[in-house]
Amino acid sequence: MSKPNPIKTTLLSAACAVALMALTPAQSAEPPIKVGVLHSLSGTMAISETTLKDTVLMLVEEQNKKGGLLGRPLEAVVVDPASDWPLFAEKARELLTQDKVDVVFGCWTSVSRKSVLPVFEELNGLLFYPVQYEGEESSKNVFYTGAAPNQQAIPAVDYLKDELGIERWVLAGTDYVYPRTTNRILEAYLKQNGVADEDIMIDYTPFGHSDWQSIVARIKRFGSEGKKTAVVSTINGDANVPFYKELANQGVTADDIPVVAFSVGEEELSGIDTKPLVGHLAAWNYFMSVDDPNNAEFIETWHGFIKNDKRVTNDPMEAHKIGFDLWVQAVEKAGTTDTDAVQAAIIGLETQNLTGGTARMLPNHHITKPVLIGEIQEDGQFAVVWQTDEEVPGDAWSDYLEGSKDLIADWTPPIMCGNFNTVTQTCLGSEAE
């Protein structure tokens, strides 16, 4: 049973493939800088994560066209954690110890991030995490380029409240940590804004829930009591199709009861018959339809790379783009790929958003983002109907939750802490060491 580690061969092959793909003009003798890609290529999450894998490969290729980094070529190392959470931790360890990658771009679900977090902290690696998430976390080794709740949920609610005059709220979500946290934050926020208990309905469903009859009926009743009602949906990927279909069939249209979703983007829509969804909303930090030169260029390169101009771009892709740019800048600034140096260098760096404005890496390892509300159109794209005037800084610890309103994250001296309690002036938990 004692055997030479199999994975080496694997990754070499994968790596070679990529290296070939990325014919760098600077074929220097310098050892390449390794970029790990940790996205599921099989299993349930493959639906979303495969695209992100391609995105990183594209970014690496582009960078190599520019002559690599520090005069060294970049080399992507791809592994498949197969939507299996323990496997995520295993593969992360593999990337960091076997392949000695300098940075990792990866993960989608919260549980996968939670699963790899200890590994990155133990081996002091770098992870760029591109998906909107529930917050309540800030690790020295992780950079959160997706939206924190205050960069997606709260602005969306503000829009519904102020622009559409919504008075009753249905918070519907799949039963896992992201919806739970988001809804608890929203509940607290709404109550602060004087919404009464009986005007908030919270409902959780299991993953891939497919029979929405009763719930939609309840929503319909809830909405038929005279006050303008909206649904704030944190329903996870697969369950959305039957949900929207049921809404449409029971005659709930976007103008009676609009649904604003946080997990439905261009990629998801491409797999849905959009007729029943038209007019419903989504809150993101990026829409493919945004008219901006950077965005146009990005879409063009993407279509060129994936060799299919039907493919859409979406928010997590932009997040990877931003993360990658910032990392490149940081490495150049630090002159090395050493983790601590890059961590020190990256804070405060800025890069262009694809939707205009700039993204800045904050001391809490989150970034500033504009928030856009889009309405779903027949063609599966979003028409932007509202957007924040300036970028919103990502907030690691929500101000609306009991446990965390006193916490801040700041990875610059003197605090250097992911969960610093401003009241007791102490750094809590393990990050203290």
């Binding site: 994975i7 939670k114 699963s115 896992y176 446990g403 965390s404 809590l428």
Partner: protein, 376 residues
């Protein structure tokens, strides 16, 4: 001596244990003594990987005991494995203490964020290692006992039983997904710090866990051998082949089934308890019915009704998975699927069957086959 008796006519087992011993001795040396960079160095990554395989192997042995010898196809052993895992996970969570992100002295992070004020009753006592281990064995045991008592008493057999065990693990999965259950919902339990005061991230700790797994596997294997070589084991096979007859010569079939089923469940629980600290996370995915089916397939591939076959099957299939998921991410499911089909079609006795056939070929005096023919 006992060991001798247990391993008589069990060449496969002897070989397996020998290899296990070899690995258990070599790996720590190659990992700790041999410096990194040296081609002989075994990375900690590989060590944990092996540790994981060993726990799977133990699980497979447990399944083979009930399926191979008792003829009960349990599609619910992942449930017992998972429960054992959760028991250990709860202990590890309690060990985190106030090092959680919210710095709460007692409550694990996910409880703080669910606004829970104090520890629910079923989390009491899990700060003690011995208690956690006890629970890792008892909880699956009790569940198996209750389920088995109902099922075997009312003579639920064959496919019905299999589907019921599947329902059991499915129900558990749904239950553990619920955050109200107080087991961390979909995220499960993770971010463990240390076990018995040893830092989990420490190489020696990992080696320790690896050795523990190896030892437990060996002991578990011998325990199962002891059962199958005893008269009880022969009664079990008798039940598998002719249940009614066994009843008529005066054995309480339901009692025999219950005893062995429960024991097997406990074994699975132990496997789970060893699995969690090595992979660093336990979540409801472990209860997924597909996992249960998959581990039945390990046994089938290794060779039903040969305990060492189960070990081989578990290690091979998982090694294959680790390899294929990296080698050809797009095609590995084809490979796996084809493997299952071909083995059932052409190797009804699995790999172990191949061995014994090979042996019988060149051995003049045919050694008695204890591996009974596979009958549904």
């Amino acid at each position: 001596m006992v060991l001798g008796r247990l391993l008589r006519d069990d060449r496969g087992g002897q070989a397996m244990l020998a290899v296990l011993l070899l690995v258990a001795v070599l790996v720590p040396i190659l990992n700790l003594v041999v410096p990194e960079g040296n081609p002989w160095h075994v990375s900690t990554y590989t060590v944990t990987l092996l540790g994981k395989y060993l726990t799977y192997a133990l699980l497979a042995v447990a399944v083979d005991l009930v399926w191979g010898y008792l003829g009960i196809l349990s599609l619910g052993h992942a449930a017992f494995f998972g429960l054992g895992g959760y028991a250990m996970g709860m202990y590890l969570m309690r060990q985190i203490g106030d090092r959680g992100v919210y710095g709460h002295p007692v409550l694990p992070d996910f409880m703080v964020f669910l606004n829970w004020t104090e520890l629910p009753w079923f989390w009491q006592g899990f700060d003690m290692f011995w208690f956690a281990v006890l629970m890792a064995i008892l909880v699956p045991g009790v569940l198996a006992f209750v389920f088995g008592y109902l099922a075997f008493r009312s003579r639920v057999t064959g496919v019905y039983l299999s589907i019921m065990t599947q329902a059991l693990t499915y129900a558990l999965m749904l239950a553990f997904f619920r955050n109200e259950m107080g087991f961390g919902g979909n995220n499960g339990l993770t971010d463990f710090k240390d076990i018995l005061g040893f830092d989990l991230t420490n190489d020696t700790t990992r080696i320790g866990l690896f050795l523990a797994s190896a030892l437990t596997l060996a002991l578990g294997y011998l325990a199962c051998r002891f059962i199958v070589t005893s008269r009880l084991g022969r009664v079990a096979v008798a039940i598998r082949d002719a249940e009614a007859r066994t009843r008529f010569i005066g054995y309480r079939v339901d009692h025999v089934k219950l005893a062995i089923f429960t024991f097997s469940a406990m074994l699975a629980g132990i496997a789970g308890a060893l699995y969690v600290p090595q992979v660093g996370i336990i979540n409801p995915g472990e209860f997924s019915p597909l996992n249960s089916i998959e581990l039945v397939i390990w046994v089938a591939i290794g060779g039903r009704a040969t305990l060492y076959g189960a070990v081989i099957g578990a290690v091979l299939v998982n090694y294959g998975k680790t390899y294929f998921t990296g080698a050809f991410p797009e095609a590995w499911l084809f490979a796996l699927g084809a493997l299952f089909v071909l083995v059932t079609l052409f190797l009804p006795k699995g790999i172990a069957g191949l061995f014994s056939q090979a042996v019988t070929w060149w051995r003049v005096r045919r050694p008695r086959e204890r591996t009974a023919r596979v009958t549904p």
